[in-house]
Subunit: 273 residues, 3 copies
């Protein structure tokens, strides 16, 4: 069922049992796999793929009062690869080249930059800001009011919390600065600020700010060293800050970080990293 | 497909691709969104909303032997708000005003009171008792034989376990008394009893009972203080027992806890809190 | 929609809204519940049950380049019981008597033996080897390059990691030997080897190998004793190695482990346990 007001571009594929609502825009070369529900006012930009049974433009709380859909626009950027059974709410903006695993939830009032990846089962609770080139792995929970800057990595089963005295009406989100790494299964307590190049070890419970370029581990987390001390166990080489040693999928993939960064300067672009 | 034996009340909405089984009762003003499977013998009370592709009355193990559905009734109370892709088994009773997030699983032999909320991805494994006004956040795992009393809060990624020497045939469920708070990512070991107003800190691994009004933190969890010592970091005010400082969605929302409690007494109601 | 090239055995049930792709084989007595997507080149052996809306033969990354399915065969053994909304990728082999909960994800290049169980929400990330009689409980994350031998138990919210210096291109999988037990919520760091009969306590963060028959607990995990010291708290009886005290669903269910093991010898079978 495709609503008569939907705008469908060229070379768009819509597989069986799809539902396309009012005022939906599907740009050229969009592919909607079997059984998707694209609710009203969703705009999906060109070249994006939507996996089977994903729900885009899910209802906000105001729907349930009178069972009528209010206007909560949702924009999904170009060349998205959204796998099966995601649920993405209205009032959200997702940038270009977004990729998600299966069964991801993204709630309302979330702003996501370009080149972001979110793994299977992750749950972004809404009212969040996520920068560019952020990698969120599987089964990560991003509480409301979280702010995640560019080039941050968050690994499986990490939870960013927000209520300092649960249950309460207060929400103190977590802030994670650029190039920080939050390893598997760590819990970041409300209002904590992880500074640039900070590294939170696996299973840490972090109740204080993590200074720049600092490694914290344990429950409760304690500072143990500078990230510059961490070596690759196999090669003995220094690894961090990781932008000098890792480039797959990054804007410096071709040239390495330093050349890329210097080229930004030469071209006069805003040098924000 | 709506089975001929189904009883459908007034002003019921059933969206496309729904399946309504034998002896299903949908009371007045029920709304069944797109693609739900309501299996045999399910009773959904008035005003309830069932989100897209939710499965209600899921098969128990006895189905798989001969692929025929046995009678395992399921009752969902009035004014439920069940979001998309939940799976709720037969032989379960859910009270009024239930709310769930996306992709929640609730297995057989679960008894849930009124005004309970269960967040996205949470998994209630069955053979559990959950009281009234219990808040279970996202991605919580409630093992079989758990008993959760009224006004309990359980935050994301908490696990209530039940096997003291895994793998074994023994099941020692966790018991959580009224007004207790179990913070994010804590693990409660088998048979542990968290007493009234107990507070389990984030990331704690709890292998002993938690006394009344006591805070435990760490791995393994240790008692650190009375809950009456915890202050709001911003205002310096004391916070716990939380029923005196938090009221949203509680029966004392209008009047505050003390007035509400005293009014119970005056009216001669059973004073069970 | 059943593709004309599909081979359908005797007494096969395919419920409404199913999609059966090219070159799919469904052997005798297979049951495909409502709304399943069985993509091209999937082979499901006799007596298997596929729960509602499960997707079998999911696309690998090479699909997305030109939106055409490449040949990535998938074999599911006899008598599987796969519950609702699983997603299982191509290029995977699953043995006989497999059971899964709801919403399980199994990615490509996974080889799973016979009599394996995987609980609700668990996520096997692919490029893994899993032996026979392995029990993986709910919401477990098995990273790429993990090797899990026969008779291993893994409990809820365990994560097997693989990147020693995240983010990096290195993948050092975890190896778990036969009869080991990994309790709830523990995190096994990259390259760690848990030896035969090893026991990882709940909530442990394991950054070193676990010797044979050894218990480790804590964050970071430390050795505390031999598994032979662990007693059942109720009866005082010794419990481990568990194969002498637990037999439900094991090949020694009838006779007990010792008789079964000795009978293997007498019959001249390969004595590999």
């Amino acid at each position: 069922m495709i609503h008569s007001t939907a705008k469908i571009g060229r070379n768009v594929t819509i597989k069986e049992d799809g539902i396309i609502g009012e005022n939906v825009t599907l740009e050229d070369d969009v592919y909607i796999d079997y059984g998707c529900i694209i609710r009203d006012n969703v705009h999906i930009k060109k070249g994006s793929f939507i996996g089977a049974r994903t729900i885009i433009g899910e209802y906000l709380m105001d729907f349930y009062k009178d069972k009528t859909n209010k206007v909560h626009p949702l924009i999904i950027g170009e060349n998205a690869l959204i796998r099966t059974e995601n649920v993405i709410y209205g009032d959200t903006i997702i940038g270009d080249n977004f990729q998600s695993g299966h069964k991801v939830t993204i709630r309302e009032k979330t702003i996501i930059g370009n080149n972001v990846r979110v793994g299977t089962l992750s749950d972004i609770q809404g009212y969040c800001e996520i920068g560019n080139y952020v990698g969120i792995h599987s089964n990560v929970h991003i509480g409301q009011k979280s702010k995640i800057n560019d080039y941050v990595w968050i690994f499986p089963y990490v939870v960013l919390t927000n209520d300092p005295t649960p249950p309460s009406e207060v929400m103190l989100g977590v802030t994670i600065d650029s190039f920080a790494v939050i390893a598997t299964g760590s819990i970041i307590l409300p209002g904590v600020h992880v500074c640039e190049d900070g590294f939170v070890g696996a299973g840490a419970v972090v109740n204080r700010d993590v200074p720049k370029e600092t490694v914290v581990v344990g429950n409760p987390a304690k500072e143990i060293c500078s990230v510059s001390k961490i070596k690759n166990k196999l090669t003995g080489e220094l690894v961090y800050p990781w932008r000098y040693t890792f480039k797959r999928g990054m804007p410096w993939e071709e040239s390495g970080y330093e050349s890329w960064y210097n080229s930004l300067d030469i071209r006069g672009d805003e040098k924000n990293v």
